[in-house]
Symmetry: C2
Subunit: 220 residues, 2 copies
């Protein structure tokens, strides 16, 4: 994966260049049944890569776990690298789809960050494999790894910007704040979502959000 396929629409993607080449044949399923098979393959890949890691994982084990024929795999993917890359994007989107509706229902930006962290911690408890999969992308497909964080943080940055425009948080909230909050959430998820099954994630989110809202300064 020295040459990871760029995101659709990104600079250097097939659409952006003149040559829509045969390598990037459209493998998007066109039927409901196809979409179900693809989803089964991705769910099976999450278990296989999550349990065994990229190097020990195999395509035949993925199709066995998915209960699909080997041929179905090659309908959608050309290689283990390709399904891994699709899985990183899939996990990133699953996380987004889990967190976003809850965050959007928040009454203000500080509450949105509170709900966002709590929702993320809940997601980690249900999908413990997310750390191993996203983190292994650093070694298997760096472009996917970086894209996951860049897209996630960009959503947070836009949220902060909108909150600042509404006067709910400090006016100078910026990209630096968004990366700081993302790192905070990822580490709290590792420590209290992944490593400690019994931690009270509601209490963790409350403490972290209070620090985010008010800082470390002394309280009277």
């Amino acid at each position: 994966m020295d040459q990871p396929q760029p995101a659709p629409g990104s600079p250097g993607s097939p659409e952006a260049g003149a040559a829509a080449d045969s390598e990037s044949r459209d493998k998007t399923p066109r039927t409901e049944r196809g979409r179900r098979t693809l989803r089964k393959l991705l769910d099976a890949a999450a278990v296989e890569f999550g349990e065994r890691g990229f190097h020990d994982a195999s395509i035949s084990a993925i199709t066995r776990r998915a209960g699909t024929a080997l041929g179905s795999f090659y309908t959608y993917f050309d290689s283990k690298e390709e399904i891994f890359q699709a899985l990183v994007r899939h996990m990133s989107e699953l996380l987004r789809d889990h967190v976003t509706p809850e965050v959007q229902a928040a009454p203000d930006e500080i509450s949105a960050e509170h709900i966002g962290l709590l929702s993320f911690l809940g997601f980690v408890r249900e999908h413990k494999e997310i750390y191993r999969i996203i983190d292994e992308a650093e070694f298997v497909d760096y472009a996917s790894y970086r894209r996951h964080y860049e897209t996630t943080v960009e959503r947070m940055r836009q949220r902060l910007e909108a909150g600042a425009a509404r006067g709910e948080i400090r006016a100078d909230a910026s990209e630096v704040h968004a990366w700081a909050i993302a790192g905070m959430n990822v580490f709290l998820g590792m420590r209290y979502g992944l490593w400690d099954e019994t931690a009270d994630i509601g209490e963790v989110a409350r403490i972290a959000n209070d620090m985010l809202a008010n800082g470390l300064g002394k309280r009277d």
Copy 2:
């Protein structure tokens, strides 16, 4: 590395049990020359693992980079896994030794966190391989990976506790705050230290520390 060697003095370490076994023969260099050779091997390992990753790295390439004989390697390490494990601990200690004196010179706890982040961002710029090495430990030697973060965060927690006792920060500062700050620093280091060579790390540290000190709340 399913059975990583425990830290000296930790529960389960040879000293803690009755059987000081032959497997854990003491390979600590006893001479200045030996210490220099060991350090050369670790420095070479940082470059080799940092550039090629664990799987593609080789012992012969490490000794070639270090300018030492292959026999010297086996004086100190039994395997590629063992030098990798030693390297993770070495990087963790290098980072600690870089940051700690600067942090200890700070006039108060909020300033200490500011200096700690700035010092960390400077370290990342000088040792870009630290991300790849620590992060790959998640897959090569999970115990080392977890120990790196646990010992780093424990130092931060103690610092917060002492700052709270001195009345410099909120009295309820806890382990959750320490993990949150650690995550913030690691992500800012990745984004602005590793990915962006031109970012003004002084400005990044200033923004992050101001958020840490005062929170996201509106300023008048």
